[in-house]
């Protein structure tokens, strides 16, 4: 009997140890708006920084599907995610989530319309009857806002263009337009700038056609039932990143952020009404 009790106690201890070991991991993911290898590369130093600041293990969960990130956050499978404006709206409509911080740039984000040079288009109107690629259907700067602004210009993509396709990611859109797989496309301004700066865009093949008005985009969001203290510590860690400190600057540069600032759900009301206007919410 005694041995039984003892082994039971040991088992309980082991289980609680396992459970607490599980609690000490912060599971983080991101919408796959760029190639998976690029996402991992971008996150690695930030993950190490957060581990040090929070004193807990930070695990990056790679996900290949925008909608799956939303579902995972809503069903508590991950603790924190890098969401776009539209995916944040979707997540907040399907459950309780808290936006913590955004990059300073995210308060005045834009989309770029690009075109294959051979098409010879000078304005959006010249794209009539051409093929057009958005990024992922769930993307804010790659689909929702470009669609919304096209609509404001009196352009309904499904009838105006010959074919509408979804490349799945911003860098894929550039590759598609460059190769001629599609004539034109829309993508996130920040990814466009990065590709141009690093010389990954052949400017003889891809031309910039237009830039959209500004809107609120990306943020770091946590699930609503994550420990409040932990939420505050995560926010603090992000806000503490100082562009004057070379180590912090390296992390910020990879995130393409000048610095992080606090954000709130109300910032994304505009996105929600744009999504309603574009018919992308039920």
């Amino acid at each position: 009997m005694k041995t039984l009790k003892l082994s039971l106690a040991t088992a309980l201890l082991a289980i609680s140890a396992l459970a607490s070991a599980e609690e000490a991991v912060l599971k983080v993911s991101a919408i796959p708006d760029e190639a998976p290898t690029e996402l991992q590369r971008k996150f690695a130093p930030l993950g190490q920084y957060l581990e040090k600041q929070l004193g807990m293990k930070v695990q990056f969960v790679p996900v290949t599907d925008y909608a799956a990130v939303v579902t995972a956050l809503n069903s508590d499978k991950i603790d924190m995610a890098w969401l776009g404006g539209f995916t944040f709206v979707q997540a907040s409509l399907h459950g309780k989530v808290v936006p913590l911080v955004q990059r300073e740039e995210d308060s005045r984000f834009t989309s770029k319309f690009i075109v294959n040079a051979a098409v010879g288009a000078k304005s959006l109107k010249d794209l009539k009857g051409k093929s057009f690629a958005f990024g992922s259907a769930s993307s804010t700067s790659g689909h929702l806002m470009p669609r919304y602004f096209l609509q404001k210009e009196g352009i309904k993509p499904e009838t105006f263009f010959k074919n509408v396709a979804y490349s799945g990611a911003h860098d894929a859109t550039v590759a598609w337009v460059a190769s001629g797989k599609v004539d034109a496309g829309a993508l996130n301004a920040s990814v466009w700038d990065k590709l141009v700066e690093s010389g990954k865009v052949d400017s003889s093949k891809v031309k910039l056609l237009a830039t959209s008005p500004a809107f609120y985009d990306y943020n770091w969001t946590v699930r609503g039932n994550l420990d409040k203290k932990l939420q505050e510590r995560i926010s603090a860690a992000f806000l503490k990143l100082d562009p004057k400190n070379p180590q912090d600057k390296a992390i910020l540069d990879l995130q393409r952020a000048s610095r992080f600032i606090p954000t709130k759900a109300d910032n994304y009301k505009g996105i929600e009404s744009a999504a309603e206007a574009a018919g992308l919410l039920k």
């Binding site: 290949t64 069903s75 991950i78 190769s179």
Partner: protein, 522 residues
């Protein structure tokens, strides 16, 4: 005195069929925007050439190859575990629904009404299971409960379970009944009738069909990654999206090796059945493979956070289906039908042309070359062809037509070549020896003996292609699949429900038509 042979008595039906065929095909061209001129357009060749040039050199980067190796094993393991699940599901379904064990079949006794009702209900479930293509099942599981290889296993398990249930039941029905009837009249139970009356005769056919399905499951599991369900498809999806040709060609090679390997194993296991105790080895090997597969996949399942409890809520969100999108549905359905019809006809023509050298009619060198080409066409799954075809003819249903034509040409070409080889060559030889030209001797001596079989194969493939055409949209090649993928991405579950119902109806209709047609032929 010989009377002159009367004019072809079937000329009116023949003319009618031909006209009907042309009439049906004409709108297909406009519906699918398939314009053969695009293929001749230097621009699209340029795009294609640029992409294909990127295929070389093959990507041999260490970390990439490691990923490929891991995902290849995952693909094999998912297919194996999926088939095991399908057999576990299909066997009881077949036992319940097969007409071979019915009282009124075995002993002319009246069946009870409640039993009949129950059986129809089970058959209905089976229609739903196999009517939804496996990749759509995978997409649904991914969206409902999480990414990873578990959705792939469940998808193969459910879709193939429904299919195995139907085919197992039919195999049992096709066996001679005397033994089972005799046992039944002696007072044997259903189980005993099955185990002693039907099982021993049906076993080889049951095993060989299951092995064939396993082979199909490998091809299916290799493309599951396109919807986020793991395996080599996931890597390929990324490489294709980023137009990374070197990686694509490495993965294509792996694909072809996988298909070749599965065909080899499938052939070996069929041979094993014919040997003494071969069945025992096969059973042992199969069980070992399933256990190894589950062990390989298990850690991934534990980490993925796959959430079964999310499924009921997910299903609940589907109701009620969106009834306001009938026009969209009709358009998607028509597009799907047109894609499959045009693709199949083009495949028929290409297969007929390729089958000649493949049957060894123009020497052994051309035979080898054309066989290789056919194997390549057949080995690459249709979804993969579609994602490559969008480069050649642009996005949209035209790419679907091309993809179906290429893959089906490979499948039909091999079958056509086999029928040519197995056909009776005496009439052709007789014509040749009486001085008729080679072409005419073929047209009047050999073609008539194989043609009806060619048509039968083609119609069977068309049935299959309609199902495939519904999912090609997942890689941007039009049809219902594209709409479904979008609806699920935007959490528009009511819309998704309507689309799935449309897919189910289409698949059910095709199955009924094809069954009616086959009964008519027999």
């Amino acid at each position: 005195m010989l009377k002159p042979y009367p004019r072809d008595p079937a000329r009116w039906p023949r003319l009618f069929t031909l006209l009907l065929g042309l009439l049906l095909l004409a709108p297909s061209f406009s519906l699918t925007q398939f314009n053969p001129a695009t293929l001749a357009n230097p621009d699209s060749w340029h795009t294609m050439a640029g992409f294909v040039a990127g295929f070389f050199p093959l990507s041999t980067q260490g970390s990439f190859l490691l990923d490929v190796a891991r995902e290849t094993i995952t693909t094999l393991a998912s297919a194996t575990a999926g088939i095991a699940l399908a057999m576990l599901l299909g066997a009881p379904l077949a036992f319940v629904t097969t007409r071979a064990l019915e009282r009124h079949v075995l002993a002319a006794e009246a069946a009870s009404a409640s039993m009949l009702l129950f059986k129809s209900a089970v058959r209905g479930v089976m229609v739903i299971l196999r009517g939804i293509p496996e990749i759509v099942w995978a997409l649904l599981f991914v969206r409902a409960a999480g990414l990873g290889s578990l959705p792939a296993v469940l998808a193969i398990g459910l879709a193939y379970g429904g299919m195995l249930g139907k085919v197992y039941a039919e195999i049992l029905e096709s066996q001679p009944r005397e033994l089972a009837t005799a046992l039944y009249l002696q007072g044997a139970s259903r189980w005993q009738c099955l185990l002693y009356g039907l099982w021993p005769q049906a076993l080889p056919e049951l095993v060989s069909y299951s092995v064939y399905r396993w082979e199909c499951a490998i091809r299916a599991s290799a493309v599951m990654g396109f919807v986020g369900a793991g395996g080599v498809g996931q890597l390929l999806d990324t490489s294709l999206k980023m137009l990374n040709g070197g990686e694509v060609s490495t993965l294509l090679l792996v694909f072809l090796l996988l298909v070749g390997l599965s065909e080899g194993i499938s052939l070996c296991s069929r041979h094993a059945l014919e040997r003494a105790r071969g069945g025992l080895y096969l059973l042992g090997g199969g069980l070992l493979a399933v256990v190894a597969s589950v062990l390989w996949l298990l850690p991934g399942w534990r980490d993925s956070g796959f959430d079964l409890s999310a499924i009921p809520r997910f299903i609940h969100d589907f109701f009620p289906p969106d009834g306001s999108m009938l026009a969209e549905l009709a358009h998607g359905t028509l597009e799907t039908l047109a894609m499959s019809a045009l693709g199949t006809v083009l495949a028929f023509v290409a297969a007929a042309v390729l089958a000649m050298p493949a049957a060894g009619r123009f020497g052994s060198l051309l035979k080898l070359a054309s066989r290789l080409l056919l194997n390549l066409l057949r080995g690459v799954p249709d979804l993969l062809w579609a994602s490559i075809a969008v480069l050649a003819v642009g996005l949209g249903p035209a790419a679907g037509v091309l993809a179906l034509a290429l893959h089906t040409a490979g499948v039909l070409g091999r079958l056509f070549a086999e029928t040519l080889e197995n056909a009776d060559h005496t009439p052709e030889l007789a014509l040749r020896q009486s001085g008729v030209s080679q072409l005419l001797a073929f047209a009047y001596g050999l073609l008539p003996t194989v043609f009806s079989q060619w048509v039968a194969y083609t119609l069977y493939r068309w049935e299959n292609n309609i199902r495939i055409a519904t999912v090609l949209g997942i890689v941007g090649a039009g049809g219902l699949g594209q709409q479904l993928y979008l609806a699920l991405s935007l959490f528009q579950q009511h819309k998704a429900a309507s689309l799935i119902i449309a897919m189910l109806l289409l698949s059910w209709l095709v199955e009924q038509l094809s069954r009616a047609w086959r009964q008519h032929m027999a």
